[in-house]
Symmetry: C2
Subunit: 164 residues, 2 copies
């Protein structure tokens, strides 16, 4: 098994592979504020929204993750980046999310962004919170009861920021 | 002069009046993360984006303010509302923003939202910060240097929340 995933810009032909990762993530409804019954077309519109640069992570010839990089705001807020990341359910624990995050930080810096902000990290997703912290992100805000988790009920969400 | 503005849903015919308020606000670039050279069409698309309910405040027969009310997120985050408010430059200090905020809180509660969140209150906009605090909002996050102010340079922005 490849130790480190290869990350490259997503092609139109990658839509099936991206949806195959997004679908179980969104259906589970535990990590993104996205309707659990979202359609393939709506999910891909969200992931590939105007202004999003989309990438995929490959390992052993398979697409095992995807992320998008964008400006978090326009105008006077356009110097702060934002990213979203998903990992295939069979590929967790292999460093895919960390590799994508580090790749996004490098690309964001190269594009001139001075910070990266995550707007809505769900507190019950403890593995993600720890991972982002280990990538240099700090919790700068706590949104009380901002997410309705399908098993846990209302849980907090965090705003996390890292300077570049 | 009317003591309290009258607030009603915006009609298509109100676009000129809304733009007349948005234009100097966005051109100044001190309070919203919006390009200062935004066009009328783009600004109205932003203000009247899908999912936004738009209202106007009238005082003495003139439109002196506008706000939008929307869900801040989808799916598991759809129970938290978001609003944006602008006041005509000649109508500040007359309670227009407060009246719109209180109206939006009432409408948000009636629609079943359990909280209202402001994602990006620019810290140098001290009058707004104090106003939202007096309307029951608390600062729950601080986004360091998240906004490039045209006169002050990089300033912080706040995330503010109020339960309903």
């Amino acid at each position: 098994m490849d130790a480190t995933p290869t990350i490259r810009p997503a092609l139109a032909a990658d839509d099936d592979a991206i949806w195959a990762i997004l679908e179980p993530t969104f259906r589970a409804g535990e990590t993104y504020p996205i309707p659990r019954d979202i359609t393939r077309a709506d999910a891909l519109r969200y992931w590939r929204a105007d202004g999003n640069d989309v990438f995929v992570a490959e390992q052993d010839g398979a697409i095992v993750g995807s992320y998008y990089l964008r400006a978090n705001n326009r105008g006077g807020g356009a110097h702060v980046a934002n990213g979203g990341y998903v990992v295939a359910s069979g590929a967790t624990g292999r460093g895919v999310a960390r590799a994508m995050c580090m790749d996004s930080l490098t690309r964001a810096g190269a594009r001139g962004f001075t910070a990266m902000q995550f707007n809505f990290v769900i507190a019950s997703n403890e593995r993600a919170v720890r991972l982002w912290q280990s990538c240099g992100f700090a919790i700068v805000g706590r949104l009380p009861q901002a997410f309705q988790h399908p098993r846990l009920g209302y849980v907090d969400a965090y705003v996390m920021v890292r300077t570049l």
